[in-house]
Amino acid sequence: MGAGHGHSLHFHGHSPIHRLPAHVKLTTLVLFVLIVVATPRTAVPAFGAYVALLLAVAAFTTVPWTSLARRMVVEVPFVVFALLMPFVAEGPRVRVGPLHLAEAGLWGAWGLLAKGTLGVLASLIFGTTTEPRDIVRALEKLRLPQPIVQIASFMFRYLEVVTGELRRMKIARDSRGFQARSIRQWRVLAGTLGALFIRSYERGERVHLAMLSRGYAGRLPFARQLTATWGDWGRALTLPVAGIGILAAVMFA
């Protein structure tokens, strides 16, 4: 059985954003998200300007809008939570049509939705334009602790192997007439997860043996280090610098 091709997140392309080194993009992403989070939720115009900035960057990436929109679905649980907030929050209420909603809840929902959406959109732009293995290299380049870099690297490498095993186990289960219809079948599903855990654990041991056999001593060597020019940094940091500009303009206007 051959392995699947392509990743669900990365979108292959050659745009200027794709070509930026991953550690530059990751730094830019973190700075931008920090600026968004630091913006008071009452500074409504600032959020409009942030969205405009991100949409401009997204237009550069050549990733189709439909593909970005589809991946925004990951935000849904936060949206649901945000929509509940005006109903459950305490404090003075305002009348919106037939509903009496908590004012603090409305502001909370707006803040969560605005900041969440911007964060997700910015991360998607990063994720769709960066190869997963370059994300791992970026973590290494930015000097994150080795254990974290190695865990990320193995997760990227083995995610498809483990989901492939889960898929084959499901096919084997379904081929014997299994249908998960009621809570009574949870025992079988739990058994599947248990078996998957044991298989993954044993694979972990075998991988470790294979690593030791090639002289592993605690560090993953990456042959290709990421490199960036001052130009790359300059182009990428335009985004957070513009963000700071917007924040300053709104705060001191």
């Binding site: 059985m1 498809e160 993953l220 990456f222 042959a223």
Partner: protein, 250 residues
Amino acid sequence: MSTPVLDLRGVAYAYPDGHQALFGVNLHVHRGERVALLGPNGAGKTTLVLHLNGILRAGAGTVAVSGLSVADDNLLEIRRRVGIVFQDPDDQLFMPSVRDDVGFGPANLGLDAAEIDRRVEESLRAVGMLEHIDRPPHHLSFGQRRRVAVATVLAMEPEILVLDEPSSNLDPASRRELAEILDALPVTVLMVTHDLPYALQLCERSVILSGGVIAADGPTAAILGDADLLAAHRLELPFGFDRVAPRPSP
């Protein structure tokens, strides 16, 4: 006689749970030999292989690689000398790209970047995978992954290449291609296999490990021709291969 590449004397091993897998294995492999290690499931083949590079340590007896005995203070050198290709390439290929993976061993040996690049390219060329150097391993077919797994070990320039079931799960074309690659490699080979025709094709000498000891050692053709010996150790030629003498053509 020259120092054997592999020199096992009286190697015995019991797992921590008390199950004894090896009962005194004696085996010598000389430079340039290609030896098939045959044996039924549970005979201790994989256990034996893990002794060759010091992952497991013999409870009794000694293991030496080109005269260097397996011990804590020379483990890295032992692991350079003995290159093990494991059965499941997904266990062996764990880095994000083929290049990084083949470079893993040489980098652990502390080689400089230029030498790592040279070895990576040379070993990928030897297995016909150079064009895939920048791909992630999980995007390759199973046969391609097995070939890259061989390259990861070749890059360490080992004195002996140990292959655990190299032909398992390969389609016939991949199986033949791998045989051609292995046949062309100028290294000493110890090949663990159940695939007796593969052993006959690639190895002039075979040993049978059965019940934790070496039960037979001789030319592959002679061993495979001895039906009683094979039967005694739960080894069988595939259907249609059981008549070793060729039939006269009509």
